[in-house]
Symmetry: none
Subunit: 226 residues, 2 copies
DNA sequence: GGCCGACCGTCAGGATCTCGTAAGAGTTGG
DNA sequence: CCAACTCTTACGAGATCCTGACGGTCGGCC
């Protein structure tokens, strides 16, 4: 779910870092120089930037400075050994962490997770585990339990449930749910209707009288916190 | 007192590294080539291996591969400058860190400490022996037993089983398993499918109706704790 | 060296499950 | 009572998974 932008001119380094981050469950964007890094941030927005100090054209420090003009996005600096002074400067510019080359990709992933966790508090609820009373939805394990029993949910049902429970009390239109859960910008809204029904069948005590996944007439659906 | 095994064919390099590590409070073992490195590990067991890539006879990559067959011992690779491809390969083989020559001995000691710290912290899900009811998976001895009987597992099957049992309840995608168990960053995902099938043949009571190594539709596989 | 078996990765066919869609019945609000 | 909206059911297409088979590779053994 969280987007990470990796900026490094070395293709090999990028490849390794990107694959490790993907394995850690991150969406990853790439940029080979400062220009495209800034462009990517304008267009796509990342939740964190891994930024090499040494870049062709605009260097890493300048990229960091410009990013800071418009955004509070966390930055992790990649510095070569012995760039002690640059390291200090980088931190002064507001980098949230730094890693010296050569580094272990696994360590980098740990730092990314750590920084995101720190920064994540202010962001929207994107926790790995969301709960509502006796209901627990664990995204990492891909397990949802109700009163301790595992719910046999399909992927779509799981994603839908997770989204709704993560935002209790909010009424969503079918169109919004299609966009947020399905990732579609168009589509038949009855798709949502049917999936809500199937989900009720598994989540509600009495599916004909929904208590938690309720209909908001003329609007859509809402998750009522227990 | 952690044991560190230093493998390098250059006597001078070894001498320097060893003395620095001893100064840093480590017990140190030495080996001048791959053969004796593997022999040392069989007899003495080190908690970490500092491994030169270029070795006479069996080279460093091969040594790392063989070590990984029976052990999760952390490995720090020593690479000459410009061995970019080897570096990537080394990391894929599961090296925990790498240091490029020429390096500062002090830097190496810092990295040894760092890796040992990391390895020590993560020892819970990475214990040498993982169990689940009547199933015991012993990584150190490379033996898995079910109801007291030894399972005739191949290397791949063993690694897969071990990884799954070490993380019960977690749903893994084939891609994640390829990365974590196979160490690949790409590859045919049907490889995982087939190995899961073969593993079921040996682990499940009724392989056609898996109870422990279950498939999570649209996601991948999960180990259900007994 | 040459044979052999164990193991591995790949592939294709068939079985199974999920998802989106449509269509009719039911319900709500005006 | 009507129109708009929602619920329910069913079904076929497509995605996903299982299974068996095949060729290649590696190490051990003759």
């Amino acid at each position: 779910m969280p987007n990470v932008l990796v900026v490094d001119d070395d293709h090999t380094v990028r490849e390794v870092v990107v694959s490790y981050l993907r394995a850690g469950g991150h969406e990853v964007l790439e940029a080979g120089d400062g220009e495209s890094a800034l462009a990517t941030m304008r267009d796509a927005r990342a939740d964190l930037v891994v930024l090499d100090l040494m870049l062709p054209g605009i260097d890493g420090l300048e990229v960091a400075r410009r990013l800071r003009e418009t955004s509070d996005v966390p930055i992790i600096m990649l510095t070569a050994l012995g760039e002690e002074t640059d390291r200090v400067v980088g931190l002064k510019l507001g980098a949230d962490d730094y890693v010296t080359k050569p580094f272990s990709p696994r360590e980098l992933v740990l730092r990314v997770d750590s920084v995101l966790r720190r920064a994540g508090r202010a962001d929207e609820p994107d926790a790995s585990v969301v709960t509502d009373g006796d209901l627990v939805v664990d995204a990492a394990r891909h397990v949802a339990t109700l009163r301790g029993e595992r719910l046999p949910l399909t992927v779509r049902e799981f994603d839908l449930l997770r989204y709704l429970v993560a935002h209790p009390g909010v009424a969503w239109s079918r169109e919004q749910l299609l966009r947020e859960v399905w990732g579609w910008s168009f589509g038949d809204q009855s798709t949502v209707t049917v999936h809500v029904r199937r989900l009720r069948e598994k989540v509600e005590v009495d599916p004909t009288r929904p208590r938690r996944l309720v209909t908001v007439w003329g609007v859509g659906y809402r998750w009522e916190a227990a």
